[in-house]
Point group: C2
Chain length 307, copies 2
């Protein structure tokens, strides 16, 4: 079992209808590793500036996250500023400062190169390809991307897709990638572009897994109060790959459980700002919610005489 994430570690400023936070911990690699470390051993490759509050990641280290691949370089940390209205499904980006992330080139150490499973967070597809060039023989590669790369770096993205086992995007992204409005048809189009499996994150609508043979649909776990949706997608990815790594499997049953695990951990993330909810979370709590999730959605087959 070994899981590598390459992505951003950021300082976010976020406003939602329920409050506001300035320069708090964020970033795809951060949410991902906070989620996945509840289930398995995770290594992070990324970069922060010399303004990064060094204590902010202590809780990850306590959970066994390997931060050796997180470089600290002169300059300012990547910063994102965004705002959500009452439709918490869509963030409005107010400001993005790449800062030290602008010249980031991922370097995998000897251990990271041997990772069995890799999550390529939402970064330039050229950098995602550079990670795969260094990886020795991963059993599962999962990649996120976004509108900016789909339109601006399409050629690199199309080079990446055939090397990806799981493409993990939201509905708007898969529609844009495929040029197709229907999400299921768009997912099949993404498979024709090379991705073996497509996971479509749909916010409040849940998540859709489209495999070669079958589809799986997980509703979102119903949450009374969503406070801040930032990081839900990367927490989902962390739960998803964390469980696949823990189970050391990618069979259909494991992929389904992984999708539900992603939804489960994401449902915690959104209950508080930043990583506040993930920080104190443990696997027992996660397992209880996974079990509650199953109790909530499980139903039996019809008796045979109903036909």
């Amino acid at each position: 079992m070994s899981l590598l994430v390459v992505g951003s570690v950021a300082l976010d400023s976020v406003e939602t209808p329920f409050g506001k936070r300035d320069s708090v911990l964020g970033g795809s690699a951060t949410y991902f590793s906070a989620a996945a470390s509840l289930l398995t051993k995770v290594s992070v490759v990324g970069v922060v500036g010399d303004d990064f509050p060094s204590g902010d990641l202590d809780f990850l280290q306590k959970r066994g996250v390997d931060l050796e691949g997180l470089e600290k370089v002169p300059g300012r940390t990547f910063r994102w500023k965004g705002k959500y209205g009452f439709d918490l499904n869509a963030a409005q980006t107010l400001d993005t400062q790449l800062n030290v992330f602008e010249h980031f080139s991922p370097r995998l150490g000897p251990k990271a190169r041997k990772a069995e499973r890799i999550f390529l967070g939402n970064i330039d597809p050229e950098l995602q390809l550079r990670v795969l060039e260094q990886a020795e023989n991963p059993r599962l590669v999962c990649a996120d991307t976004m509108n900016f790369w789909i339109s601006g770096k399409r050629a690199s993205l199309l080079k990446l897709l055939p090397r990806v086992d799981v493409l993990m995007v939201n509905d708007g992204e898969v529609r844009q990638l495929a040029g197709e409005a229907n999400v299921i048809k768009a997912a099949h189009a993404a498979q024709r572009l090379g991705a073996k499996i497509v996971v479509v994150k749909r916010g409040e609508y849940g998540a859709l897994l489209v495999d070669q043979e079958q589809s799986f649909y997980s509703p979102a776990f119903p949450i009374a109060d969503v406070i801040d949706p930032t990081g839900a997608g990367d927490s989902f990815a962390g739960g998803f790959l964390g469980l696949l790594d823990r189970l050391d499997s990618k069979d259909p049953a494991a992929l389904r459980q992984a999708t539900v695990m992603g939804s489960t951990i994401a449902s915690f993330t959104v209950e508080q700002f930043s990583l506040d909810r993930l920080r104190g979370l443990d696997l027992a709590q996660v397992r209880r919610r996974f079990d509650a999730f199953r109790a909530l959605v499980h139903f039996e087959e019809l008796p045979e005489h109903v036909a």
Copy 2:
């Protein structure tokens, strides 16, 4: 097994982004009985005017629906005119003409009085109460209602609720009834008003069943092309009660299957205008989609070592 529906038989004029139909078959009792008759024996109590095209209900009779309780009186049939935008969850009512429905007072014949299960379609709660006064000893009573009665006939509605086993409403209605924004809390408030079980229909978001001991959440079956959502709620009710009547049960497992059956049949209804899709449907097709639904959402428990 015997199921009674009291509600409207109407002529609808509907416009959606995908087309337009004038004076086509509609009404709660019509959608309900078209759905339920796929599963069990249904009797209809309602009223139409002398303008009603008599052949329109032949397909229901062929499915064994008992239309003896459908009075034909002088005057025009109830007419509804509505429009949907691309957000197909919400209809805009352009015109409602009660016509013969204005002086409708439901009269149950000797057979209808003995019905084991009753669906009270969305009519004046005073009329709904009048149905229950005539019913002899139903084992299950399910009622729909709407904003108009919740605000305008609240006292009668509050008299009805303690006599209702299943209150079946949409999210806006349960929120309004309870004065509570959170749907789950609102459902619990409706239970304190007397309804034993609350089923909240949530359109594209699926349906939520809140029983005494437990909740169940069914996503909506994903449909590639929704053409006209009219009648989805009443088809849901027909599938729900049709299955409970067929299974002769209201145990927790049956209630869950009934919720999924409601979603399944509603997913057919919205694929075409009016009752066009329900007209030619048979139980084998319904069962196949129910099974596909389960294959789509089923997942296994986590292995015990993940804890």
